[in-house]
């Protein structure tokens, strides 16, 4: 008998589980699905799907080119679906204050030295290093899970995305 293959989700094809309450409030589990959230999001809208005090995991629908971003700390991007190009520039001068956490959107193109670029596909994790500016580009809709800190751009719409 053949074993069942490994099942990953995608924008086009995902199944959602759920919370079966015995004696609880399902909202305690803030249950959502990354692909469902991304399928309903605007390109590069940073929707929190996990929040642990100041830290967040954001689901991001990558489509076309994003603005340029930077942060005062490392961030990590996991491509959950599709293919994403990540362009990196070492900033000539730090544009985000050390004590300002979360992702900051930069105005226009960043001034600095090109560090290079990464082409990442499903399952790949990329570093968005502290002190760098970065831009995402996806020719077709893709999904990123971003490990970062709650910031100016974090969108919290738990009531819309979570099981109630």
């Amino acid at each position: 008998m053949m074993r069942r293959g490994t099942r990953f989700g995608s924008l086009e094809n995902y199944e959602k589980g759920g919370v079966q309450v015995i004696d609880d409030d399902p909202r305690n589990y803030a249950f959502s699905n990354i692909f469902e959230v991304a399928s309903r999001a605007e390109p590069y809208e940073k929707v929190a799907v996990g929040k642990n005090l100041k830290y967040v995991l954001e689901a991001v629908r990558a489509e076309g080119s994003s603005p340029w971003y930077s942060a005062s700390h490392d961030e990590a991007a996991i491509v959950m679906d599709g293919e994403v190009e990540i362009r990196l520039v070492k900033l000539k001068q730090e544009l985000v204050a050390e004590d300002h956490e979360g992702t900051t959107m930069l105005e226009g193109n960043p001034q600095g030295v090109k560090m290079g670029y990464i082409v990442a596909r499903r399952g790949h994790m990329a570093l968005l290093p502290k002190g760098a500016a970065y831009q995402f580009h996806a020719a077709r809709p893709a999904v990123i899970l971003l490990q970062t800190i709650q910031g100016d751009l974090t969108v919290q719409k738990w009531k819309e995305i979570c099981e109630k």
Binding site: N28, F31, G50, Y55, H124
Partner: protein
């Protein structure tokens, strides 16, 4: 005080720490304390003991089953029987002793070393390991002394946790044979080779030879993305001392959620690929993974959190809506 006793008729040593005494025979681990005794299947006991030691008593409560376990206070450890069991507590039959970590850890390590037979790997899925039962047959020190992997910034970076490969002895697991092993394209300009970094996270996870054993793959200050492969049953019932989050990366896991302190059932959470769920700070959970699956466990490593949750300065649920 810790003490060791003589070898029994099955070849196994007995152990003691404080008032707790531990012995095993061909099938079972036997635990005794002033006022009570408890019996667990040897394989279940060793699988739980393996995680408890490997994680240095982990975050919060490690219930080996509904009776016996440990609570980590990060420097000292409670060893308990019945403390998180409503029936025991209702009859005042619970027993708990506190030890310095350096006092209890060597006893547990020696017990795991002595009680693990040569063909049994407590970290492996049942289908991938040998027989834990019977009289003592050698040991399996290679299996029980694996080092926990904790990335400082990100796995695969220079001077950080190395990537896994065939050459390094990390074969793709039999249940992840269909997981793509391609690597991201990295085009680094000269001088930036160490900072332009990416790796195939799913491929890395597919090469894990252990189950239910999270390793830290990326860190943003105290935010830790941990990856783990899950198959069969989580060998402990983990009682939270803070909120943690799960992201199901592949396949599915079914979670039984109970009240952390009483064990009363609260919910079942079924997670499929792409699902995200919080585990509140006042629950205990045990997972069932019918096929080997990939789970992202997201932790907040802030050392001040257990006290803040215990003192109710933080709510047990992560978000209100």
């Amino acid at each position: 005080m810790a003490e060791e006793q003589t070898t029994n008729e099955y070849g196994y040593r007995s152990f003691a720490v404080g008032g707790f005494k531990f012995a095993r025979d061909e099938y079972f681990a036997h635990i005794a304390w002033p006022g009570g005794t408890h019996t667990m299947p040897a394989d279940a006991f060793l699988r739980a003991l393996m995680r408890d030691i490997s994680w240095s008593f982990f975050y919060g409560v490690v219930n080996f089953d509904q009776v016996f376990g440990t609570t980590n206070h990060y420097g000292d450890v409670d060893v308990f029987a019945g403390l998180y069991n409503a029936g025991y507590c209702a009859q005042n039959k619970q027993h708990c002793e506190n030890f310095k970590t350096e006092e209890v850890r060597p006893v547990f390590e020696a017990m795991l070393d002595d009680w693990t037979n040569e063909d049994f790997d407590p970290f492996a899925a049942p289908e991938e390991t040998g027989n834990p039962f019977g009289p003592k047959r050698g040991n399996n020190r290679a299996a029980i002394n694996r080092k926990r992997l904790v990335a400082n910034r990100m796995t695969g970076m220079k001077a950080d946790i190395p990537l896994r490969s065939d050459a390094a002895g990390n074969a793709v697991n039999r249940q992840f044979a269909d997981v793509p092993q391609d690597q991201p394209e990295i085009h680094a300009e000269p001088g930036f080779e160490d900072e332009v970094h990416a790796f195939n996270f799913f491929a890395y996870v597919s090469r894990s030879d252990v189950t239910w054993n999270p390793s830290v793959c990326s860190a943003v200050k105290d935010s830790q993305v941990c990856a783990t492969t899950e198959e069969f049953i989580l060998p402990i019932i983990h009682g939270n001392d803070r909120v943690e989050w799960f992201v199901q990366l592949s396949d599915e896991i079914h979670w039984d959620i109970q009240d952390r302190d009483t064990g009363a059932p609260r919910a079942r959470v079924v997670m499929k690929a792409g699902d995200v769920a919080a585990m509140p700070a006042d629950i205990r959970h045990q997972g069932y993974s019918p096929k080997r699956s990939m789970l992202l466990v997201w932790e907040n490593n802030d050392a001040t959190l257990p006290e803040l949750y215990a003192n109710k300065k933080l709510k047990p649920n992560p978000v209100d809506f």
